[in-house]
Symmetry: C3
Subunit: 347 residues, 3 copies
């Protein structure tokens, strides 16, 4: 794990910032305003943290122009400090990429095509006819099934499983425990017993996609499950067979997407959401955490379901009432009508 | 990945269909009515797709008798086209079963019994006293603990983990990342701290069971966790210790079943359902997605909980009201009574 | 799998119990009162099982003093029979710890420090500069990234993945498929596209922590994700980046904890709960199953959300009403006011 040190001049150039302070000052790492110490670079991306700027121990802070004059130390001035922080975070990420080469314990079919500058770790298995692009990293314990294709600069972290016939684009990051291409959940009911529908499609993933730890993307029944360019999937997500996710959508942890759902581009789906099958979600839809989406969403916007937390005693009372909400509502409507009639009679 | 080509005559015989068309016509794959091209076999299993029959480019379609005369190409006529599609899907599934044999990198205890025509992939570990049936496939990276038993024709996809003392029946399909036999979540509270209750039971799985990717089935505390014949579990399911699932029940992705719950036979549990512990669910119960089952269900039927999605603004208002539903209901009941009294007085 | 036999005298001494019965009686295993047979030890920890005491076939029962005189067989009398059962369960757990040693197929960097009496299974990979304590067991297929530290007597079950820079305390039990240290879900939005925020923190786990199968604990963005001493995490849990969980808290299966949430000590979080990010939960908070925690909980207590299960038809009606609850509530309030005015007028 090697992490470099950078001068403020280098960092300012990297994020195209105006530098107020000592260009030769060395930065050893990133930290929050509160936790930063000598040698750290911090950032101010949200005005509620402005209170921590004055006393920060950072050696420099990424700020926007409005806050620059309140910065007690060296300042890197940009339009969007959060984006600048994101870009600089890459510089301080430890260089863990193993040297190119294939570990002697890997089992790779002779029929595979392996690109240049590829790193393949211990106990990796790559089955017949798969194609691995240039600069790909495949961590220890990964299994790549037959007929897969992995685009340039993609990285499989340890213990990832790809079934056969899976296509990954360029610059993908797949986290440990992810399973791509397992059978979709398809069965025909034969007098109570389940006849398996063999899943003949594959999975096609675009460029710049990140797939979280232990996330599952099932293969399609007849056609392919499709994940668009720039999609970000968090951990523990279930993507059912034939699902389509449009470009640059992001899905948070624990969300389950049932088969044949089509999600648009630029959507954000929060954590632990359930999305029913065979529905369509428009572009720019945002669904809040733990919501249940059971029909199509045809217009952009923010959608929610679920109930708010209360103390358990209040919840028990409210829940009991909710079980009879239809009855109570009918009584309300009846009372309204009776009152109206009584009022009319009295008038 | 080898996929055969079949004649319509062969396919008709396989599904016991009446064939209208050229018996020698070759079929290279399955497709939907809309996506099918020359050489494909499609199927019409739902009248809402009837609109696509007329212009399908498929070479043949599986139809029922009522739709046969509207089929513009060769027809395979059966009573249940969906079931026929399921059966034929098997024929077009790529033959990925590795040739029988044990990969040289596998680590198998001398005390194991290994059946005939078994395929054991790279880096598989099988610990002492386990018994592997005939025609079993164990994919790369699988770990089979001590004292396990795997029935004939079962298949473990790559990177499956079985702890010790697990019994799988015949023709099981276990998907990657599944963990069977990890410790149930049992602790005794000792003045705020947790004393582990060691989990001494096992897991017993019947015949023809499918277990989805990254699904967990915990071992029992004292007795065994039991999964009946023909049960189908999707991905990301949690089956707690001592759970019993009856024959031919199916559970969709993301559902969590707490310890000692007993689920009947022929049930369907949709995705992301939560089932509390120590309850009983009758045969033929169907639970809709994201429902919370917190007490026993003694009669067959369809059950639900959860709230419907709305735009976020409406949801916020409704949710605030719901937090006081008991209070509002009491006010309704009081008003009803007051109105009744006022009406009586006026009469 | 070796399991010893114990005499009642040995067991009584182990749990500090008063023994009524034959001290030389041998016990071969633990069982419930109902399922126990000759040679088994049962326990009575809940008065609702008292009915099974009279006819138990167990050779001995762990009871409290109040129930001792109703025990038809040998009795081990203690204050807390459940705790005594927990302690004895350890004695009957099969001894599966492999003999110390490093399997020849393991790949361990020369720069690692490996303690005494360590067992490292087949195909384990340990990357540079990691430190493995004494009496540690690392099961087959585990990957330990660079710069990790694993405390004495900890056990990694098969196929666990630790990314780089992860610290585990002593006596941890990590179950199969768990992924510790994958990247937190951090991105900055750049005109609709997502710029990755590299995750520079680690994960620090205390002593006596258990992590369930397929659970994920993400590394911190800048600081470390922290799991306190004695914490118990069930299967399929998502712990986001920068989360802090206080000592001796327990979290049941399927719960998702979003980034930067801070959970206190001695909390219990039931299964399938969702906890939003950037909030604080006090010590001794208990959250019931499937609840959604979307703001901080500042006082100890029991909290809930969610709706109760009904038959599907009733649920549909209630849910439709709930979507208009704000409107109906306003009509109730208006009716109250109208009635009040009418009553005043009539008086």
């Amino acid at each position: 794990m090697v992490v470099r040190v950078y001068t403020l001049a280098e960092l300012a150039a990297y994020i195209d910032a105006e530098l107020l302070g000592d260009a030769a000052q060395e930065v050893t790492g990133l930290a929050t305003l509160q936790a930063a110490s000598q040698g750290n670079l911090a950032f101010l991306a949200n005005s509620k943290y402005l209170q921590f700027l004055e006393n920060t121990q950072a050696s420099a802070v990424i700020v926007d122009r409005d806050s620059a004059d309140r910065c007690p130390v060296a300042a890197l001035i940009v339009d969007d400090p959060y984006m600048a922080y994101a870009k600089i975070s890459q510089l301080f990420s430890p260089s863990l990429v193993a040297a190119p080469g294939v570990h002697k314990s890997a089992t790779i079919s002779d029929s595979c095509t392996i690109g240049a500058e590829v790193s393949i770790g211990p106990n990796v298995v790559i089955e017949e006819d798969s194609v691995i692009g240039d600069h790909v990293t495949i961590g220890p314990g990964c299994i790549v099934g037959a007929g897969c294709s992995i685009g340039d600069y993609s990285r499989l972290n340890p213990n990832v499983t790809l079934y056969h016939g899976i296509t990954l684009g360029q610059r993908n990051i797949i986290h440990s425990g992810a399973v791509i291409g397992a059978d979709g959940f398809g069965f025909a009911n034969n007098q109570g017993q389940w006849e398996k529908i063999h899943q003949l499609g594959g999975v096609v993933i675009g460029d710049d996609v990140e797939v979280g730890a232990n996330t599952c993307i099932d293969r399609g029944a007849l056609t392919d499950t499709q994940i668009g360019n720039g999609v970000k999937l968090d951990n523990h997500i279930q993507v059912g067979h034939n699902v389509v996710i449009g470009e640059h959508s992001a899905v948070a942890a624990g969300t389950a997407i049932a088969g044949s759902a089509e999600i648009g581009s630029y959507c954000t789906i929060a954590g632990a959401v359930g999305i029913a099958g065979h529905l369509t979600i428009a572009d720019h839809v945002h669904v809040t955490g733990m919501s249940m989406v059971s029909s199509s969403l045809k217009t952009a916007g923010v959608y929610s379901s679920g109930t708010a937390l209360t103390d358990n005693q209040t919840w028990r009372k409210n829940t009991a009432r909710l079980r009879k909400l239809d009855e109570y509502t009918k009584r309300l409507l009846k009372l309204e009508k009776q009152f109206e009639q009584a009022t009319e009679k009295n008038t």
